[in-house]
Symmetry: D2
Subunit: 141 residues, 4 copies
């Protein structure tokens, strides 16, 4: 499998073909084996708490799931491999602000049948807003 | 605290004042002490997997967080109480379809400082698509 | 596969051949397709909080994992199937007391490759002390 | 509050006064503000899978909960503060071996009311066997 092609196609599918990602406006800044960095421009519609103007916790979970999913796909060795989300846990660490978010996702287990990913969300890297731990099943063909 | 007023104001805030909920189009079908039922009309933008036309897992997590949050708020005894999400775990049980979803959220622990909520997502009640377990902190005033 | 034999062998392996289960003193009260009920006699060594004489949260997690694992194994269709724990989440709902615990474990998803189990721990069924949600991978042979 | 005294008393309580920790044989190698390292000598009774001679997943969860709990307690500012486990998630990454385990626990959120801890379990630091994420409530007095 051509790795350069794989990352190019994954980026294209992620940003242009997955409706929810387009809706959320997710942009890939970096994508390589086992790692992804995503940029999510702020939109007013992402606010959950209108008094404190914080990002909705569920929108944060959406971003984490998307970031985790794309990095899980970098483990594919064929375009016929099938990846499904088993579960995701999101922990909220600090209040967010009404400005752009970034997500970094990293594979922490790359097994024959199970992939696990850790995700961090932040405005600036010194202060992590939320962390997620995601489990995916992969059917390798 | 006037309970009828509480539920009326919570419903109004949930549907009209929380930008992310409006964005997602969440509608409350039922809201009472410790229980909520939500209706989420299908939109094309909610699709995560464009080949299989399934709801994005993260959008499902968003719905779960919103449903869990509103039911946690039914535990308030004053409008000055403050509720924050501690963490959420979502388990995906079955593939979803491109049609409306429903969410039922129920408090399973209503503590002095911690509230826990179980959420079920489904198209029809016989087949649960995803379940979530959410932890909230409440500062009672 | 002979189901009666399967449950008999699983019970025997659970109580007599798995060292940690013997150590914890777990006894199967009921075991059938997708469901198990376990009895755990109280021991002083299980106390975590010596002031309040409560069961150690980790010992509760151990019991949940054992109960979840044995019920996952009821999904086997061959003794060559291989089951591994992917992850487990335990939520503590109420303080426990220095007396026997019971665990009920139920399969909530019985997939080709993934099994999920919900577990409840209680002294008496009206008051659930802790709940767990467990994910297992199964390699069906 | 005298920090040196705090760590000394916490170590003593952890190793000698908490029955479950004694039962499991947990020893503190290092304990400071927001960090703990624990040593768990292998015992035959800790084996869950008697064919592959692996540590029981639940025993690993017990260790994670104990390690997470003691590091959460380092956040106390008074001996009257009260810490309770809200929930714990354990992810199993690699098969363990029948030899000693080590646990490192680190506070990732040290809030007014909520503390979160990440735990790693390993035989040797290059290969993490399991990771845990724990949430605690603290009532500061």
């Amino acid at each position: 499998m051509d790795n350069e092609l794989k990352f190019k196609l994954l980026k294209q599918a992620f940003e242009n073909q997955m409706p929810a990602n387009k809706y959320l406006g997710l942009k890939i800044l970096d994508l390589k084996e086992g790692f992804a960095k995503i940029h999510i421009p702020f939109k007013e519609e992402f606010i959950g708490d209108y008094l404190q103007k914080r990002w909705h916790g569920g929108i944060q979970a959406s971003i984490a799931d998307s970031a985790g999913g794309i990095v899980a796909l970098t483990s594919m060795q064929s375009f016929n491999d099938k990846v499904n989300t088993i579960d995701i846990r999101v922990d909220y660490l600090h209040g967010s602000e009404p400005k752009d978010l970034f997500a970094e996702a990293e594979i922490i287990k790359d097994g024959k049948r199970i992939i696990k990913v850790d995700v961090k969300l932040y405005h600036s890297k010194e202060k992590i807003i939320a962390v997620a731990r995601c489990a995916y099943s992969i059917l390798r063909t």
